[in-house]
């Protein structure tokens, strides 16, 4: 890995310009496509080196991997001055929203009754709010009586929390920290593991925003 690679200075320069101009994270593949005249491995290496270079204290920018792409983001320590510049207040999410969002994130695809069951309260309003803020989206309908809508998180969710993909969600606190006694007792109480929990690899079918199933409802016209 320590093999010397000669990254053309121009490559880093172009990458920096691309990242500056883009309004959304640029996927690695897209960068490689745009920079087709360069070696693909050089593009990767250049990004790694740039990430390190931007870490230095005098830089106000971090090069971060987020929502399946690369993005320039400001350094956390500089936020007070940015609020002065923009004259805005920090955006907040209520506890109810956060809880619901966490449940959707870890358990997607999930229906509203399932969310209500975990939280012990009605989550309709909170869900609507999350849909409006584009942090949650409707993935489609589940094939079961009543055809409930199923929900999942959006790309904006990953961008908002600065996550490269769903696999990098903080791991859920599991029951392994418990003593053997309680553990044995609890094991049989646990619901069967949802397919999505535990191993949260990046899922292709959750990456695209354009798949909302609207056809069914429009046919009735």
């Amino acid at each position: 890995m320590m093999e010397e690679m000669n990254i053309p200075a121009q490559l880093k320069s172009i990458l920096e310009s691309l990242l500056l101009v883009s309004s959304s994270p640029i996927p690695l593949n897209q960068l490689k496509e745009i920079l087709s005249e360069f070696d693909a491995s050089h593009v990767e290496q250049a990004l790694i080196e740039m990430q390190e270079e931007f870490l230095k204290e005098s830089s106000g920018i971090d090069l971060v991997e987020v929502s399946g792409g690369y993005q320039f983001r400001t350094k956390v320590a500089n936020s007070p001055w940015i609020f002065k510049l923009n004259k805005t207040k920090p955006q907040r999410l209520s506890r109810a929203s956060l809880e619901t969002l966490a449940i959707v994130a870890y358990r997607q695809p999930i229906t509203r009754p399932e969310i209500d069951e975990i939280r012990g309260v009605d989550s309709g309003q909170v869900l609507r709010h999350l849909l409006e803020r584009n942090l949650v989206r409707i993935l489609g309908k589940r094939e079961e009586p009543g055809n409930p809508l199923i929900y999942g998180t959006t790309k904006e969710f990953l961008v908002f929390f600065g996550l490269p993909n769903l696999g990098s969600l903080p791991s859920l606190r599991e029951y392994t920290e418990l003593g053997a006694d309680s553990l044995a007792k609890i094991e049989k109480l646990l619901p069967p593991k949802p397919p999505f929990e535990g191993d949260l690899g990046p899922r292709k079918d959750l990456g695209d925003d354009s798949e909302v199933d609207v056809k069914d409802s429009s046919h009735s016209a």
């Binding site: 955006q91 646990l190 016209a221």
Partner: protein, 275 residues
């Protein structure tokens, strides 16, 4: 859900501080923690008593107690009564290791809820966009005019469907007296949308303008399907400046290029007419 509690009491000289609980499970977790109780060995009698006291307090503050809180009170009372029953010696012999504990289901729900409550806190602790971290403001794709319009953000189909429902709701429908068959094809409507955008001055059209003066329900619907089709094909993108502003439809280079409708006509629709 009791966040109003603070607002109400803050102006009140008799300030009573109540923690904000998201629901009965949240309240129970709080009580368990306050009593330094083991979650796997909840003292139901004590917890039930404190839980009911809390509901009483909410009543005194004239707060509406949500049904979920009352349901949990009933559940707690039920568990408490089951705990008082003498253990069934018969079944104990049958399965020594599997002793029935009436608290099981409650413990499972509390653990499950706590797991996501913790996860929510972990998410909140991350450097968050627009709280700790900022990114480049969205760029305006088509800033041709001198006076820069407000910045736009791309929106989802969900928003588009919402806007469509508004259009349908505001529609003044024609009530025809003669029975006539009007057929609207998807191709026609796609051509209509493409033409509207190509001939617009700014290369963009407001969503509601597409339906202006339209009085036939089927044409409105097929026009909307045409929109969805164009978006799917990547010939059209949908933008909005903020949550309640107008939705703008902007053609991509594909729409201006050698674009043509491929002839599928699954969405042909005919007007339904009441006579």
């Amino acid at each position: 859900m009791f966040s109003e509690m603070h607002q109400e009491t803050e102006h009140n000289p008799y300030f009573v501080r109540l923690d904000v609980f998201e629901g009965p499970l949240d309240l129970l977790l709080h009580l368990i923690k306050q009593n330094e109780m083991d979650i796997y060995n909840i003292q139901i009698a004590l917890i039930t008593e404190q839980y009911l006291k809390y509901l009483e307090m909410m009543k005194e503050l004239n707060l509406d107690i949500a049904g979920e809180f009352l349901l949990m009170a009933a559940t707690l009372a039920h568990i408490k009564s089951q705990m008082l029953l003498p253990p069934d010696t018969q079944s104990q012999e049958d399965s020594e290791e599997e002793e029935f504990d009436p608290r099981e289901e409650l413990i499972r729900r509390l653990l499950e809820y706590q797991k996501y409550k913790d996860a929510a806190e972990k998410l909140l602790a991350r450097p968050l966009l627009y709280r700790d971290i900022f990114i480049r403001e969205h760029l305006l794709r088509m800033a041709k005019k001198e006076e820069a319009p407000r910045e736009l953000m791309e929106i989802s189909v969900f928003k588009l469907v919402e806007a469509f429902h508004r259009i349908i709701a505001e529609l003044t429908l024609q009530v025809p007296y003669e029975v006539q068959l009007e057929s609207v094809t998807l191709g026609e409507c796609i051509n209509f949308v493409v033409r509207a955008i190509r001939t617009s001055e700014e290369g963009s059209v407001r969503f509601q303008d597409l339906f202006k003066g339209e009085r036939s329900r089927s044409r409105v619907i097929v026009t909307f399907l045409a929109l969805l089709d164009l978006i799917k094909q990547g010939a059209l993108r949908v933008f909005q400046a903020d949550t309640y502003s107008d939705i703008q439809l902007i053609g991509t280079p594909l729409l201006y290029g050698e674009w043509r409708y491929d002839g599928r006509d699954e969405y042909t629709s005919t007007t339904e007419i009441d006579s």
